[in-house]
Subunit: 421 residues, 2 copies
């Protein structure tokens, strides 16, 4: 048994009441100004005011193998990034230039850009290259504080390529000190082979891909890009019902551009999360709150596409638990940085720093169904946490464009950064 004591820390963590924190509780964060955290075998054993934790250690006669003086640094749970497409072969930098120059998306598609170019790249890439590219992005995210990350398939769009992506995603999770949650997103776009026959592709997903994904046993979620011109509400419902029957949990890309009613469908199906939500209606936000669906908001995507941000305050006021994610992908949000996402949420969506902290930790863990293990520093959970060069989580927004994460601990072990604050 290994026991480590982290003392002289300003600890900020939501405590887990067994459900995500919505409405007025979104920013309910426990603060220990002179705090201590006791870690045993990679799990949180105790945390609280230093005097109390030290007293209990003495009473129990516990042996401390290592003591780390955090020198007053801020200590927060590791970030959980609940929506990414980090498994892709290469960035699309030239397309970004075209987009800035005002080239319409259809013209970019015609020039071989857009999501289908990432599909061609992934299909053509070797499994080793795809693994190396994905590992590199996850390591960048880890250095910026992400200790749990969801990664979607969805650049394969044919059964073998989708399964290959899920294998790569699972392997990254085995090889790196990051918990990886794999999501099957065969319904990311209609591939060129099915142009003009989206229902044919939906049938392939339902009849061939989902059974194969179930048999492979890697994916925990099924997601669908429900949007005008992509997958309709009816197609989305069909896919997600088949996925649920196959034992997968549900998510959806909902109401990003048009209010198709994706948020309402998420409530109807009791999906674990609905993501994007820039165009979600008040009525469907209310239905999400009633159904306990987490809203995963993606401000870096709004930033990169120069769109208005999702109405985070409206959702919080309506009682929806809000999570934040990077949406890391080569088209609309090429960033692995949760500090950047946190900053945008505070500066552009008007979340308080403590609301944003819950959004990138506990609520994000609920958005992935892994709150039993991560997302807060409740005793018994994994000792996944960060030291920040600042007085409080506000430093993540205040120190703009610069990551204040100096150390990343995964299951109590230093995984990135430096031990000495």
């Amino acid at each position: 048994m290994t026991t480590k004591l982290f003392r002289n820390a300003r600890i900020f963590t939501p405590l887990d009441p067994g459900a995500p924190l919505g409405g007025a509780t979104q920013g309910r964060v426990q603060v220990y100004e002179n705090g201590a955290l006791l870690v045993q075998n990679g799990r949180v054993e105790k945390l609280g005011p230093a005097a109390g934790v030290l007293g209990e250690i003495v009473r129990a006669g516990a042996k401390i193998h290592q003591e780390i003086d955090c020198q007053g640094a801020c200590l927060v749970p590791g970030f959980v990034d609940p929506h990414t497409h980090m498994c892709f072969a290469r960035p699309r930098e030239a397309e970004f230039d075209l987009r800035l120059a005002g080239t319409p998306y259809l013209e970019i598609l015609a020039k071989g850009g857009g999501i289908l170019s990432s599909v061609r790249d992934v299909r053509a890439a070797s499994e080793a290259d795809l693994l190396a590219a994905t590992r590199r992005r996850v390591l960048t995210a880890l250095g910026l504080g992400t200790t749990t990350v969801e990664i979607k398939s969805g650049y394969g769009l044919e059964t073998a390529s989708e399964l290959r992506m899920l294998r790569v995603i699972a392997r990254v999770g085995r090889e790196l000190p990051v918990d990886v949650v794999p999501t099957f997103l065969g319904a990311h776009a209609v591939p060129e082979e099915f142009r003009g026959d989206p229902d044919g592709y939906v049938a392939l997903i339902v009849n061939e891909m989902i059974p194969a994904v179930r048999e492979q046993g890697i994916a925990r979620f099924c997601d669908v890009f429900c949007e005008q011109g992509v997958f309709s509400i009816a197609q989305t419902r069909r896919i997600l019902q088949a996925a649920r029957s196959a034992g997968l949990q549900l998510k959806l890309h909902a109401d990003e551009v048009h209010d198709l009613g994706g948020a309402g469908l998420a409530a109807e199906l009791k999906a674990v999360s609905a993501d994007h939500l820039l165009a979600a209606s008040d009525e469907n936000i209310a239905r999400m709150a009633q159904a306990g669906v987490v809203a995963s908001l993606l401000p870096a995507t709004a930033y990169s596409l120069r769109k208005p941000y999702a109405r985070a305050r409206r959702m919080i006021q309506g009682g929806v638990p809000v999570a934040l994610a990077s949406d890391c992908n080569p088209g609309s949000s090429y960033t692995e940085s949760m500090p950047f996402v946190f900053g945008l949420a505070v500066m552009q969506m008007d979340l308080s720093p403590l609301e944003a902290l819950t959004a990138v930790t506990l609520n994000a863990a609920y958005a992935l169904g892994v709150a039993g293990r991560v997302g807060s520093l409740d005793p018994g959970k994994q000792a996944d946490f960060l030291l920040l060069d600042g007085e409080s989580p506000a430093i993540l927004a205040y120190h703009a464009g610069v990551s204040p994460v100096t150390a990343v601990y995964k299951r109590g072990e230093l995984a990135a950064g430096r031990e000495d604050p």
Copy 2:
């Protein structure tokens, strides 16, 4: 004599025509897709297409001491950050929280916050502590690609403290591989001792501080915060005229909140730059263009204060050369990151990536009067340059919130990052 060859690079650099690039020339950047850069004794000797540079080396029979394969990385001039207040004792994180919560600035001042709290901190700090804090920020900036930085005094507001700040600023420049340009900003605010008597403080600046700063011989520029409630146009003119007589070059914080006509005054006095300019009028922008004044724009400040951005496109269309700066300070823009500033300029102010590149290199060097030495890769200039993990400077905006700077070379030597791309 040491000779280094950097080959297999995608080189992007403005070339220096002897004046800043304004109007249609703002984005005039030379590109060598398969480029090579020959460095001799820390200076650019040659650059161009690999074949040409290698041919000349062979013809001249030059001996190459070190050859670096850039592996296709993008190579750009080191960033010049022409407007910072990096010399301060400590951040003001608690005040940021108050500000987010909507506390009016006057109330923050009454609680001991605001600029005058930084003045108290700097007056109370030891020279060693102030040096350590400033060094740390400049090192952060260096790691993010800044190889030349302007740093202002202005948290002393009394003669001895202002001179002490300038000593610290000069020492950082001697000790670190960064060119530091010191600016005297005694007219940053009216100190508490002169509350109600701003003209008395102006007289102190003119009669005591400027002569002392001249005698000390460190500062190259004099700057004034010309703004309603701070220093009027008449006070600003008086200070800057005295500074010019004392041999200092001129800058001013102009029209940040109110259109006092600071941009027009900059043109009248032929200041080297006018900075902020959020409220500058069309008429005064035209006068800046005629007078050849560089506009130093500070998008991270607009971001942090949630204000509309300066009208960069209007200025470029009007022929004003645009530079970009971090404005790094503990109140309105706590960032050392020029990649972040570049990203905001492209995403929020609609500069093209090549226009933004000129703004953070050559035009910024002109804003500091150091374009003879830095700001572009013209032969004879210092070999200050960066390797970027991307195909072009667009990566600085495309890879949002993550710095793509992998190596920083100062006078041909690796100063931050890693040699192997």
